[in-house]
């Protein structure tokens, strides 16, 4: 976050020195886009916040645990697709899950779907890409994530 701030300020200053008018135009353009997407962003993070309230660590443990078999992969993919967690929360959580017996390949499916698919962020994605493209991308990514998990499971089985 900090490095991003420094980078932004530095680039704005350099740009400003080089061309004042162009810089203001660029900043205005960018912020205008931000304001336009803001209501949708807000409503999406509200829904995510509420959904996350129901997805507790115990809930995850129950559905992803080692007794769950193939079902664990499906649950991992489903939960990962719906939730949206920032990395600084997702990875510590994944660490806890591994320690409590969830297999690495299930975690791989969970992490991959978590990052590649955003069912709850579909409204945002659809504003940019249109609904059809958005749905196709998310569906493809879902199967892609399962594939990644399957290959991971196979490699962990071999080594």
């Amino acid at each position: 976050m900090k490095s991003m701030m420094i980078l932004t300020v530095a680039l704005v200053v350099i740009s400003f020195i080089a061309d004042r008018k162009k810089t203001l135009k660029g900043i205005k353009k960018g912020l205008k886009q931000f304001l336009k997407i803001l209501p949708t962003l807000l409503s999406v993070i509200i829904i995510i916040s509420i959904v996350l309230f129901f997805v507790s660590n115990e809930f995850l443990m129950e559905y992803l645990g080692k007794g769950a078999g193939l079902g664990a992969y499906i649950s991992a993919a489903a939960i990962g697709s719906i939730s949206l967690l920032p990395g600084f929360i997702a990875y510590p959580l994944a660490g806890i899950l591994v320690k409590s017996g969830v297999s690495y390949s299930v975690i791989a499916v969970f992490i991959t779907t978590l990052m590649m698919i955003g069912i709850l962020t579909i409204p945002i994605e659809a504003k940019y890409f249109g609904m059809k493209t958005t749905l196709i991308r998310n569906t493809l990514s879902f199967f892609g994530a399962i594939l990644v998990g399957a290959v991971m499971a196979f490699i962990y089985y071999l080594i």
């Binding site: 932004t8 931000f34 962003l41 807000l42 995510i48 791989a108 940019y128």
Partner: protein, 177 residues
């Protein structure tokens, strides 16, 4: 005002309902409501309100400074493997949630980036971000991280190619929002 409501007809009711819900929760000390606001919502809100304006400013600057020809040459239709590597590199050094990738994707596309590379960018963005890698290695180990990334890269390149072809064939476009 009316036009605003119409444009965000799904979003505004959600926002209003949440404001009322949170207000009532705090008033009546309703714990789940307070928790949803304080831990979950606040975390996402902070990320959104600090990170995204900066990102959009950078996008705006990029838009006015970088000529289309240059983008087209490096990551356009004829850029091949080099173009793919470039968009992947661009994605890897960024930070932020998935939705932060979409405005960048729009800008890249507008400047002449090929559809295949746009979708590779989005997938790469979600797979391995250098700022997040330290977290992943710390909590899940280097072996897991390396394996996951090495296996995921060919998968998302494939998805990128399929999506890109679909996008071209159907004359799709990316909106500015």
């Amino acid at each position: 005002m009316k036009a605003l409501f119409k444009k965000y007809k799904l979003d505004i009711p959600v926002i209003i309902a949440f404001v009322i819900f949170t207000g009532t929760s705090f008033y009546f000390q309703f714990n789940p409501g307070i928790q949803i606001f304080k831990t979950n919502f606040w975390m996402f809100f902070k990320e959104m309100i600090i990170l995204l304006p900066m990102m959009f400013i950078l996008i705006g600057l990029f838009d006015v400074w970088i000529p289309k020809e240059r983008i087209q040459k490096h990551i356009g239709d004829t850029s091949g493997i080099k173009g793919m590597l470039l968009v992947m590199l661009l994605a890897f050094i960024q930070a932020g949630p998935l939705y932060a990738a979409f405005p960048v994707a729009y800008l890249l596309w507008k400047k002449g980036c090929s559809p295949v590379n746009v979708f590779i960018y989005i997938s790469a963005f979600t797979t391995a971000k250098i700022p997040m890698l330290t977290f992943e290695i710390g909590f899940l180990g280097l072996k897991f991280s390396l394996l996951r990334i090495l296996i995921t890269i060919p998968v998302f390149i494939l998805i990128g190619i399929i999506m890109g072809k679909y996008f071209e064939r159907n004359n799709c476009k990316i909106n500015e929002v």
